[in-house]
């Protein structure tokens, strides 16, 4: 390279590399079929999920998966998450992260190869290319051909299909955030929220651009994940490997006949390059552009079968097993590769977080009480000698039904309670408050303590559901009274 030129006479290489368009050839095989399956699954989940209905009764939305930003609720089938329970989402994200560590350590960049949205949509768009322009050779020819009305028409049609897929992709996103059938009606009648149109527009554009045109450049230049994965991989991770010790020196069958010494198994048919969706040559070794989709494995296996050589010249293989095979030893069984401490540790952490989340989900409180004491004024001296304190209660009912609660002041002798919606004369030892379904009720509570008991003291406010389901919630708080009153009563007592 020029950089190594000691005299620095030549111009340094440009840091910019123009993209070489990739036209992967159609291929069939076990990995391709697996990729089809994962793709179908991912697209079905993405497009189908918002349309699943889930009956939660009259007080909650009937959509199975819904991120209700307006009301700050997240619904996922039987689970409803409030904003303060966002740690469930955080926990799931941590699980997703550790899950990726686990998968990467075990099977390398399987996420990149099969399930990443960029991979799925690039794959989809490459199928569209093959469907409209024909297979690899036809696409190469069309790409090289000068612009003509026919080529222009074909391109416009293809980009129209791109745009259609992009629109359906971008449009599906918004249904996760509102009732899908309603939003769809609103969307087409022009009455949906502007943010729905904006989101659809932006996601349509990004899908069209990233899936239709950027493709493998996203993986190679834009995505941080391949860099992180490079650090996550170790000598026990499965990666797509060209077994050079078996394939080299490569040469076609014709070259092999004229060669002085026998050549390796690679017949240099370049099928592995032709089918690669990122346009790399796996025979150059592991590289950042390889998303380990294993389509080259399918291609190579077919080539080997056609020349009567054993399959697996390109195959999933770990670094350790590569070295064993070079030395002529057999590869270790898969079970031994997977059951190693690092994977077990990842799995344990992943499973532990999952179990902890499930435990918290099962035991979380669906009724909460918080108490804010009025501090201005701290207490009010009433004319009869009694002292009144005011409290603001926030009663949060996270269930899909209204609940009536009995409010009582434990450890505050003689206290009579009333709220700002009651007449002071109606004050009683315990009062009832109804909290509407799935909401927080703010209650201004007054506690009046007769002169005989009016002194500074701690007590507990308790809210007991009258439906006798679930237990009472309680909150320690304080009753304030004038100091002098306190002393006087001490004297009287």
């Amino acid at each position: 390279m020029n950089m190594m030129d000691p005299n620095m006479t030549a111009a340094p290489p440009s840091l910019y590399a123009k993209r070489t368009a990739v036209f992967p050839r159609k291929i069939d095989g076990p990995f391709r079929r697996f990729k089809w399956l994962v793709m179908a699954l991912c697209l079905a989940v993405y497009w189908g999920t918002p349309w699943i209905r889930w009956d939660r009764g009259p007080h909650a939305p009937g959509q199975a998966v819904l991120v209700d930003l307006a009301h700050r609720r997240f619904y996922m089938f039987a689970i409803e998450i409030w904003p303060q329970e966002f740690y469930f989402v955080a926990g799931m994200l941590i699980m997703a992260g550790i899950g990726l560590f686990l998968v990467t350590s075990a099977v390398g960049r399987a996420w990149c190869g099969y399930a990443c949205p960029q991979t799925v949509w690039t794959d989809l768009y490459q199928h569209v290319d093959r469907l409209i322009d024909g297979d690899r050779n036809a696409q190469l020819r069309l790409n090289a051909a000068p612009w003509s009305p026919a080529k222009f028409a074909r391109r416009m049609f293809k980009w129209g299909v791109y745009l259609g897929i992009a629109f359906v992709t971008g449009g599906a996103w918004i249904f996760y955030f509102a009732d899908a059938p309603t939003l769809q009606r609103e969307f087409w009648t022009g009455t949906a929220a502007p943010v729905a149109y904006a989101s659809t527009g932006i996601l349509t554009f990004t899908t069209f651009w990233l899936g239709g045109f950027m493709r493998e450049q996203v993986c190679i230049y834009m995505c941080p994940w391949p860099r992180i994965q490079t650090a996550m991989l170790d000598e026990n991770s499965l990666t797509v490997t060209y077994k050079h010790w078996r394939g080299e020196p490569r040469g076609s069958l014709k070259e092999a006949k004229g060669a002085a010494s026998p050549l390796g198994d690679c017949i240099d048919c370049k099928q592995c390059v032709a089918v690669c969706p990122t346009g790399i040559d796996i025979r150059e070794g592991p590289q950042i552009g390889c998303i380990t989709c294993a389509l080259c494995v399918d291609a190579c296996d077919r080539a080997m079968a056609s020349v009567g050589r054993p399959r697996g010249l390109i195959d999933y293989c770990t670094l350790i097993d590569s070295e064993r095979e070079i030395k002529g030893e057999p590869a270790r069984p898969v079970r031994k590769v997977l059951l190693r401490p690092r994977l077990i540790a990842y799995f344990a952490v992943w499973g532990g977080i999952g179990l902890a989340l499930l435990f918290m989900l099962g035991t979380r409180e669906r009724l909460t009480l918080s108490v804010a004491r009025e501090r201005n004024p701290e207490f009010v001296q009433l004319s009869g000698g009694a002292v009144r304190n005011a409290f603001t209660l926030a009663l949060r009912n996270m269930e899909d039904r209204p609940r009536t609660l009995r409010i009582a002041a434990e450890g505050l002798p003689g206290a009579a309670l009333y709220t700002d919606e009651m007449a002071p004369g109606a004050a009683q030892g315990t009062i009832h408050v109804t909290v509407p379904a799935d909401s927080t009720a703010k209650v201004r509570l007054y506690a009046v303590v007769p002169a005989a008991h009016a002194r500074q003291q701690d007590f507990t406010l308790q809210a007991t559901p009258l439906d006798h389901e679930g237990h009472a919630v309680r909150r320690e708080t304080h009753f304030a009274a004038p100091e002098s009153e306190h002393e006087e009563h001490e004297e009287h007592e």
Binding site: M8, T9, A10, A11, P12, E374, R375, N376, P377, V380, Q381, L382, S383, G384, G385, R388, A390, T419, D420, E421, M422, A423, P424, G425, A426, I431, H432, Y446, A451
Partner: protein, 312 residues
């Protein structure tokens, strides 16, 4: 590559074709790589933007103010627009509050909520100076949270107090009364004042009956009972405080009571008509009534209690 110290103007680096800066440190030289074109044009664009901005908006600081800009934009003007906009926004609910009799607001919880919030906002501007931010008052300024009212604690009585004020000269409807300065004006002697105070402290159950209070009882009946009632029950008609309870506007200890009887007090409150619009005064009345001590209107007392119970 050559480096001519006598002509430092343009030395071109042969490897890159870029000019050199002309410095040299231990044989290491620096390329004078030009700024990227896009960066330069962005920079020029910001300069062009700033020139336009300086003409259109206030920009150049001067001794007492800044240049005004041709658009006439000011941050005060934005605030005024915002306030005007909010006033328009609030007009509908203010009209609704104006059209609803004050006793009927409770039947419309949303409207009452708005009135309380509006009253709270007005209270913070106009009332906290005397009554305190928590409306708890202080010596000489009534606590509005409690159940003791000098002039009445139902909605219309509070509104009447707000509209006409207390002891406002020139206002015929104002709350007005005047306690004589019994000691200062020589109506009672110093010893008689002490005896009356002793009696008042017995009335309020602060002291047991004694000889002084027994002497004071007759003086009280002659001089005080006409307004404060035979047993110190007070009289809201003349704003005479109840003397038998635990709440003292000017203090219930002996020294304070002696001072009150000797010099008398006549607290004043402004009449808010003319200072605030009727709707704001109405909202203030609703807010003060909502602080925990509000009383039901006498005529509505019977039906109001079950209505409140039903709402609950």
């Amino acid at each position: 590559m050559t480096h001519d110290k006598t002509h430092p103007a343009k030395v071109i680096d042969s490897a890159t074709g870029t000019a050199m800066v002309g410095h040299e440190w231990d044989g290491i030289e620096e390329l004078d790589t030009p700024l990227p074109r896009w960066w330069l044009w962005t920079f020029y664009a910001t300069i062009a933007f700033s020139l336009v901005y300086v003409v259109l908006y206030p920009a150049i600081p001067m001794l007492h103010s800044a240049s005004t800009g041709t658009l006439g934009w000011t941050s005060r003007g934005v605030l005024a627009d915002d306030i005007a906009h909010e006033k328009v926004e609030h007009q509908a609910i203010r009209n609704a509050i104006a059209a609803t009799p004050i006793e009927a607001l409770a039947a419309n919880p949303a409207l009452q909520r708005a009135a309380i919030e509006g009253g709270h906002a007005a209270f913070k501007v106009n009332c906290v100076q005397c009554h305190g931010s928590g409306a708890a008052g202080g010596k000489g300024y009534p606590n509005l949270n409690d159940d003791d009212w000098l002039w009445g604690g139902d909605l219309s009585a509070i509104q009447q107090t707000l509209v006409n004020g207390i002891r406002q000269p020139g206002n015929d409807a104002t709350r007005s009364s005047l306690m004589p300065s019994f000691g200062k004006d020589g109506i009672l002697t110093g010893a008689q004042v002490q005896d009356v105070v002793s009696h008042v402290r017995v009335l309020s159950q602060q002291d047991p009956a004694n000889a002084s209070s027994a002497r004071g009882a007759q003086l009280y009946a002659d001089n005080c009972a006409v307004c404060h009632g035979a047993n110190g029950e007070g009289n809201r008609g003349v704003g005479a405080p109840k003397l038998s309870d635990k709440i003292w506007l000017y203090g219930g200890d002996r020294a304070s009571l002696v001072n009150t009887v000797t010099n008398a007090h006549a607290g004043v409150m402004p009449a808010w008509t003319g200072r605030l619009d009727p709707v704001t005064i109405k909202m203030l009345a609703v807010y003060v009534h909502s602080l925990g001590g509000g009383e039901a209107a006498p005529a509505l007392a019977a039906p109001a209690a079950p209505a409140a119970g039903a709402a609950q």
